[in-house]
């Protein structure tokens, strides 16, 4: 046990001597959470639009006002002919053009029919789709406004309540995602590198030649990173809570325990990576190239998993971060207890055992 | 012997509060085998790095091959070879690829590179392993190859930093044969070592203790001066003057 402690202490020395890495380890997640908490959002806000108003009557002016004051849109410019549309799109700034028919008000009042055309730059189809939906819904409610004063019969009015995140803050969605991505990469990357490094320098052989069990050697290498990653998680949670008001509605203890589980899982993955590689370079590339984009894209961090095609949804089951994000959302935002996510928890435990088992197997083959 | 090719005058290197090299003064003549001796940490590597232009001195003066170590380092580099303490060959390249690479970055012509490669392979008897990766070769072979690569561009001086550490005695002998050969061809050899028996092979040696040169002479004169029968004795007497052997 004393020997074990000495090993852990040695690992800590390694980490704390290397101030550059330490700064990165702590500073960067903080910078990231601040940056992303404020900057990344998939809410539409102030999207630049252009208006081609061929009518310029009291109704089109009112409707334009309504569209522009919704907060979703910002006027980039008025166009005067259809020929300008192509040009304005190609310049790239304007995302949508709204076109009113000639004699809009007149037609609406006389023929009960008038046309609005919406053109969206669909090189970004997600944004285009959302913009069109927002615009149509504004126009629809404008229509209802016009009819006001004459209460229409047989009307159901939906009363909408937004649960868990009434102000629709996208940071609520991103904080759990960021925690997972950062913990995943830091834990898996740090361990795989530090073990690969000892192999590369040759000190691993010295350690293994010591009277310690190989498992002890590995565990002692991993413990400091567990502590580091855990303190990182706490810092991010605190920032999320203090700066962005992301609540923790469920049990804090449970949240911390689940975080430790996830970190251990990521560490065991790092160990597995290091057992199959010989150089830091390969270890790094596997953990970065192999983990970075899949963790960002398939975990539900940014893109909802249920929108993905079936094969991809199946693949996403293999992304541990996906399960952790579900757990985080449940505890932090819904305030539910373990009953609601015992399955996800078990899956993470399963991953941990699988990675550990595989590394032990790999390791034995190597030693034998 | 010929003219002076390395000249150092009160050359010092200070790292923070630690004086690694303390006002060393010496000169080395052309085609000489100059031994730079001292215990680990005596400042040998620091001194060699200043002379090869890898490290800027803190104070003092030095000229290598007629060029100043402060502002003519690139000219120095054109005229020297260097074999560092750590592996200077790429382990993931083969013998011939290493030779070709170093010859290439020294600017040797294509035909000259070919010539040199076959010459080296023959001389070092590496024919069978010329396409093997360096990491598969025993340490002694690698060191011999590293030395040959360090003088592939026929420099005026070659600096060797602990070239034989960790190598078995037989290979060490072979290594020194290579050094003699180089010196015979007119290359000045500046070699650091902490093996005192190797010191006997040098024309002149300097003894470095704690960043200072304590003695500098031929091995015979040093032994006489310290009343010792081997260089090892000389060294112990000098490093720990109050101890009895």
């Amino acid at each position: 046990m004393r020997r074990f402690k000495a090993f852990v202490v040695k690992e800590f020395y390694h980490i704390f001597r290397d101030t550059k890495t330490l700064i990165i380890l702590f500073g960067m997640p903080i910078v990231q959470i601040m940056l992303f908490g404020y900057a990344i959002t998939n809410e539409i806000k102030d999207a630049k639009i252009a208006i081609l108003d061929k009518s310029k009557d009291h109704l089109t002016v009112r409707l334009s006002d309504k569209i522009l004051s919704s907060g979703y849109f910002q006027l980039s410019e008025y166009l005067y002919s259809e020929a300008e549309i192509e040009e304005v799109f190609r310049k790239g700034e304007v995302k949508q053009v709204v076109i009113y028919d000639k004699q809009f008000a007149q037609k609406l009042e006389r023929d009960h029919q008038a046309k609005v055309q919406i053109l969206a730059d669909a090189t970004d189809p997600n944004t285009a789709n959302t913009l069109i939906k927002y615009t149509s819904s504004i126009i629809n409610s404008f229509q209802q406004e016009l009819a006001f004063g004459n209460p229409t019969p047989l009307t159901i009015k939906p009363e909408i309540r937004m649960l868990y995140n009434p102000n629709l803050e996208s940071v609520f969605l991103f904080v759990p995602g960021l925690i997972s991505v950062i913990l995943m990469l830091i834990s898996a990357m740090m361990t795989s590198i530090s073990i690969a490094r000892e192999k590369e320098i040759g000190t691993m052989e010295v350690l293994l030649a010591s009277p310690m069990q190989p498992a002890q050697v590995i565990i002692s290498k991993v413990i400091p990173y567990l502590i580091l990653a855990f303190s990182n998680a706490i810092v991010i949670l605190l920032l999320g809570y203090l700066v962005f008001g992301v609540p923790i509605r469920g049990s804090l203890l449970l949240l911390l325990l689940e975080s430790i589980l996830f970190i251990v899982m990521a560490l065991s993955m790092g160990i597995l990576i290091s057992t199959i590689t010989n150089s830091q370079q390969t270890a790094l590339l596997i953990s970065l190239m192999g983990l970075m984009l899949p963790t960002i894209l398939l975990s539900g961090f940014i893109f909802p998993v249920e929108n993905m095609p079936m094969p991809l949804q199946l693949i996403s089951h293999l992304i541990p971060a996906k399960w952790f994000i579900l757990i985080l959302k449940s505890i932090m935002l819904k305030g539910t207890g373990i009953l609601f996510f015992w399955k996800e928890t078990l899956i993470l435990v399963g991953f941990t055992f699988a990675f550990t088992f595989l590394s032990v197997k790999k390791f034995k083959i190597r030693v034998a | 012997m010929g003219k002076t090719i390395i000249e150092a005058n009160r050359l010092s290197k200070i790292f923070g509060s630690f004086t690694a090299v303390n006002e060393i003064t010496f000169m080395v003549k052309e085609a000489e085998i100059f031994g730079f001796l001292g215990a680990n940490g005596a400042g040998k590597t620091t001194a060699i790095k200043m002379l090869t232009g890898l490290l800027s001195p803190t104070s003092g003066e030095a000229q290598v091959a007629g060029f100043d170590v402060y502002n003519q380092t690139e000219d120095i580099k054109r005229n020297i070879g260097y074999m560092s303490q750590r592996f200077s060959l790429y382990e993931d390249l083969t013998v011939t690829e290493n030779i070709e690479f170093y010859a290439g970055i020294y600017g040797l012509s294509r035909s000259r590179i070919k010539e040199k490669t076959s010459e080296l392979v023959q001389k070092l008897d590496l024919g069978k392993v010329q396409n093997a990766l360096i990491k598969s070769l025993p340490l002694g072979w690698r060191q011999k190859l590293a030395f040959s690569v360090a003088i592939i561009h026929d420099p005026k001086i070659v600096f060797l930093d602990e070239p034989t550490s960790g190598v078995d005695p037989i290979t060490r002998r072979q290594f020194w044969e290579l050094i003699y050969e180089a010196a015979y061809q007119g290359i000045t050899v500046f070699v650091t070592t902490h093996y005192m028996d190797e010191a006997e092979y040098c024309d002149r040696i300097s003894m470095m203790v704690d960043g200072k040169i304590q003695a500098l002479d031929t091995p015979e004169l040093l032994k006489k001066q310290f009343d010792a029968s081997t260089m090892h004795e000389v060294f112990v007497k000098m490093a720990r003057p109050h101890e009895k052997i």
Binding site: I24, Q32, Y38, I40, N42, E43, I44, F89, R90, G92, Q113, V116, Q117, I118, L119, A120, A122, D124, P125, I132, K133, S137, F142, Q143, T152, L154, I156, K157, P158, I160, R161, P166, N167, L173, M189, R197, Q280, Q281, T282, L284, L288, M289, G290, L293, F303, E306, M308, L312, S330, T336, F340 | L54, K77, Q85, R86, D92, E100, F101, G104, G107
Partner: protein
């Protein structure tokens, strides 16, 4: 020039010799391109709807079938009582819950008006916003239908304004089917090439420092710029090859249209790669261990990737964050790829992008040459 040739040759030999690295450099990115390009679908469909019908009337059943019939919703449960709906939402079995009160039909017939409650899981704000728009759309459709069916029998006179209709037509330019792969494939390709380039180059010099071979190179008369160019070129080639494979996949597998001039795009990509590699080499000269180099490039890449405008639009960001993205090289490449590939923009329209990336590349490579010290 010859010196650079030998450096480049040595780098290429090392890259291709490392059997563990090659699959990472070529296979992983390609698999990821094929798989991940399918992931980035924001389009919301099949929202999970929990329908609580406390009324069980003709009216309520009509609403249910209307909701079921729309492409947006998928009824995953129905039952009585709000608590079931809440539980479904907590278990992630429902994205929204619609509850019809008891006596819904009666009240509607008597008073011509009723409210129904819609509860939406708003953790993902955008999704929630769209869900509410979709639901309102279906409900106003439903309103129209019951008016047509029952309105006349109740002899209500329709106000003439009721007949007024603003007809909305829309079209999606450059990508009429809203195929998000058209948008994602080139973007993800850019990310992958960037990551490979940045990681390989940032580990490269520092690796030689760790192994010790850098000293041997530093005592040669090699010039600083020769050294950096010798390091830059192999990875530049690698990146261009990788990019070409990626474009081929985009074209053959995903049938991404290619409207603009391919040479313009290649030219820009070549320039962009110089920038990324310069950044990597600069990081490499700054650090002592591969671990440090990796962490620094990892940090910048995560920031650059998430703020590139690929996953979340830059226009949605606050103004200061939009300014920050001006320093994000990935942003420029993604913009240019989209402009040239999908919109057919020409040299003139991307001139600023070219200029900025050029200056950026010169600056970073200059810094790398400057920071690379042959003497300690």
């Amino acid at each position: 020039m010859r010196i650079i040739y030998y450096l480049v040759k040595k780098e290429l030999l090392q890259i291709f010799r490392n059997k563990g690295m090659l699959p990472i450099i070529f296979v992983i990115p390609i698999i990821q391109l094929v798989i991940l390009s399918n992931a980035a679908d924001f389009e919301i469909k099949n929202l999970k709807l929990y329908f609580i019908d406390n009324d069980h009337s003709a009216f309520s059943r009509l609403l249910q079938s209307k909701l079921e019939g729309s492409q947006y919703f998928m009824i995953t449960g129905s039952g009585l009582g709000s608590q079931n709906g809440d539980a479904a939402m907590q278990n992630d079995l429902a994205d929204l819950v619609i509850e019809l009160p008891r006596g819904f039909e009666k009240k509607l017939m008597r008073e011509g008006f009723d409210k129904i409650q819609l509860r939406i899981n708003a953790i993902d704000g955008t999704k929630a916003g769209l869900a509410s728009i979709y639901a309102s759309e279906v409900i106003s459709d439903y309103n129209r239908e019951i008016r047509d069916r029952y309105g006349a029998s109740r002899s209500l006179i329709l106000d003439h304004t009721e007949g007024n209709k603003i007809e909305i037509t829309y079209s999606n330019w450059y990508n009429p089917d809203l195929n998000y792969k058209t948008f994602m494939v080139p973007g993800i390709l850019v990310l992958l090439v960037t990551m490979i380039g940045a990681f390989l180059s940032s580990m490269n010099i520092v690796r030689e420092k760790e192994i010790g071979t850098i000293e041997q190179i530093n005592v040669t008369p090699i010039k600083k710029h020769q050294f950096i160019i010798g390091k830059l070129f192999p990875f530049w080639l690698l990146g261009l090859v990788e990019l070409s494979i990626g474009f081929l996949i985009a074209w053959l597998v995903f049938e991404v249209p290619f409207i603009g001039n391919i040479f313009l795009l290649y030219g820009f990509a070549a320039l962009y790669l110089l920038l990324i590699l310069g950044m990597g080499l600069f990081i490499s000269t700054l650090t002592q261990t591969q671990q440090q180099a990796m962490f620094i490039s990892w940090f910048f890449l995560v920031v650059f990737i998430l703020m590139s405008g690929l996953f979340t639009a830059i226009e949605n960001m606050p103004v200061w964050a939009q300014k920050v993205t001006l320093f994000n090289p990935i942003r420029y490449f993604i913009e240019v790829v989209r402009m040239v590939m999908l919109k057919g923009s020409g040299l003139f329209e991307v001139r600023w992008h070219i200029l900025i990336v050029l200056l950026y590349a010169i600056a970073l490579n200059g810094l790398a040459v400057f920071r690379y010290r042959k003497t300690v």
